[in-house]
Amino acid sequence: MSSLSRDEVAKLAALARIEMSEEELVGLASQFGSILDAVARVQELNLDGVKATSHPQPLENIFREDVVLPSLTPDQALSGAPAQEEQRFRVPQILGEAE
């Protein structure tokens, strides 16, 4: 019987940037057991030598020519912005550093 502890769920929630309540964390942890059991069925078969499929159709080499096409106007680009300033997206202070 697989399971996830509340702490493990909390780690995943942090990775996924979702601030879950204590109730949610505990609730998910308890549900995960049966969900993981159900999906763990994929490990039942011997899959040695079986290739993984990541694309259902056998397409390759789909490219576009290096040509510039019109962009959105800044108004369009910023149309959904929760906050903007000087034609840029305004976001609260960023704590972490860039990669």
């Binding site: 998910l28 995960f32 078969l45 899959l47 149309s79 912005a81």
Partner: protein
């Protein structure tokens, strides 16, 4: 005219019997009448719809050449971007967002002169099988308003089933067009993966998603299919091949000499008696029409559900990362001194519903280092086995069949506390998505025990979508003969004129 088929409406428009504006008005009135009970629509665009209709009427009057569905109204699942129109994907996190661009599907609909009535309700980000996961409340099944219409395209299916629109667009990642079609007694098709552009389709699981058509008849569905399918250079997974001749196939309906494969794994235990009864009757009908019924064995299908519930959540955990309150959508938690990180965290907590959060966490887990091979990696290998099983089966039969859903429409709230019970609703539809092939559900009758619609599923190899329409048309014609009319004519009146 709302009871007519889209094909009949098309003729009426062409002959001048009715204008598109009048037709559109009738549908808007029907929506006003019944949608407070059905709740199929999130956003009705009366002004714009009437303007589109007027434009088509003007073109027609000026003698311009128009496509077959020009001037016919349609309901659009809120998963497709439509410029300037609220598009939510059924989520609070996109409440109020108006895309600055059209999805390719919408662009094609507009080119074809189809009148878009509005955006329909759906399970949030297409995750669900009942439309109960919508951030805006559920949609109700026109056949029984205490029951779900299925999902995730429940709103589109209900709209067509309730005569609010003759045709609709949905999306199908694990059965989200076919299953609601089955539960609401209409036709729904999940086209071959890559046949319909995903540009502008808000992504749930990229390697499984496809937009597709709903209609009350096989022919209506085919007409819509032809409009939305086609290569799109803006979608790198789009197939660059001609659209299969689905309308011609829908008009032909000839199954003589065809081999029809019944999938051993998709029947039996867990399938409602009434569902199996209608399924077997349909097989007998097809047999009587000259088809040969064979049984095919697809052993890997037992693992399809497990593979799907690893692949789809994994892809969605990544696809939904962009909803972070920085560039569009909801932003909460912006108190003094709040950081971008905390605003992201609080927004995603507030904006995503339970099921979406559940799948994001599951997907994050399945992709994590140390777990990738056991979960996501294995699921991708199961996918290969499913593709191989289908390949083998299609050497034994021209199309494969099964009941679309093991059960008929369930009560609102019945499965919403049991995720796994809900996931089982898609057990028969999921293999099609994993393999990237096409599938159709059409009405096979009502289950004896509850008088609720049962769907018959047809599957065909990739890019052989016309086979679905051919076999579907044959079965439909025979059933209509048997019932003295389409099944949908038996649907409740809902208190409005029908």
């Amino acid at each position: 005219m709302i009871n007519k088929t889209a094909a009949e409406m098309s003729s009426a428009l062409a002959s001048g019997e009715v204008t598109s504006v009048a037709l559109t008005k009738q549908h808007l009135e029907r929506i006003a009448d019944v949608d407070k009970k059905v709740k199929a629509f999130l956003h009705v665009d009366s002004e714009s719809a009437l303007a589109q209709a007027a434009s088509v009427d003007a073109d027609r009057a000026a003698g311009k050449a128009l496509g077959p569905l020009a001037g016919v109204p349609l309901a659009l699942k809120d998963v497709l971007a439509q410029e300037g129109v609220p598009t939510t994907a059924g989520s609070k996190i996109l409440q109020g967002w108006k895309p600055p661009y059209d999805s390719t599907v919408v662009a094609k609909l507009k080119s074809a002169g189809v009148v878009i009535l509005g955006k329909t309700n759906m399970d949030e980000f297409a995750m669900g099988s009942s439309t109960e996961n919508s951030g805006y409340g559920p949609t109700f099944n026109p056949w029984d308003l205490t029951r779900t219409p299925g999902g995730s395209s429940g709103g589109s299916a209900a709209a067509v089933s309730a005569f609010e629109a003759p045709i609709a667009i949905g999306s199908d990642t694990g059965g989200s067009i076919r299953q609601p079609a089955a539960l609401t007694g209409i036709v729904g098709v999940r086209p071959t993966y890559g046949a319909v552009s995903r540009y502008g389709l808000i992504a749930y699981s990229s390697s499984l998603d496809q937009a597709g058509p709903f209609g009350r008849t096989v022919l209506d569905t085919a007409m819509l299919h032809e409009i939305i399918a086609g290569h799109d250079p803006k979608d790198a997974t789009s197939l660059n091949v001609p659209v299969p001749a689905v309308v011609a196939a829908a008009k032909s309906g000839d199954v003589k000499g065809l081999k029809i494969g019944v999938i051993k794994q998709l029947q039996g235990k867990g399938y409602q008696a009434g569902v199996l009864a209608r399924f077997n009757e349909s097989l007998e009908i097809l047999s009587s029409l000259g088809a040969e019924i064979v049984e095919v064995d697809c052993p890997s299908f037992e693992y399809a559900l497990a593979a799907y519930y690893l692949i789809a959540p994994s892809e969605c955990s990544s696809n939904l990362a962009r909803f972070d309150a920085m560039r569009y959508g909801l932003r909460t938690g912006e108190v003094d001194g709040a950081s971008a990180e905390s605003v992201m965290n609080s927004t995603r907590e507030a904006g995503f519903g339970r099921e979406v959060k559940r799948r994001i966490i599951l997907g994050t887990y399945a992709l994590s280092s140390g777990y990738y091979d056991a979960y996501y990696g294995s699921a991708q290998k199961i996918r290969t086995l499913i593709i191989e099983d289908y390949k083998k089966a299609f050497t034994q039969a021209d199309v494969l069949v099964s009941p679309t859903s093991p059960i008929t429409a369930f009560k609102i709230g019945e499965k919403s506390e049991d995720p796994i019970a809900m996931y089982l609703a898609d057990v028969a539809t999921i293999p099609v998505n994993l393999a990237g092939i096409c599938g159709m559900s059409l009405p096979a009758g009502l289950a004896d025990e509850d008088n609720l619609p049962v769907g018959f599923q047809i599957m065909a190899p990739a890019m052989q979508d016309q086979r679905l329409y051919n076999v579907g048309a044959a079965l439909e014609a025979a059933l209509v003969l048997k019932w003295g009319g389409h099944l949908i004519s038996k649907a409740p009146a809902l208190g409005g004129a029908k």
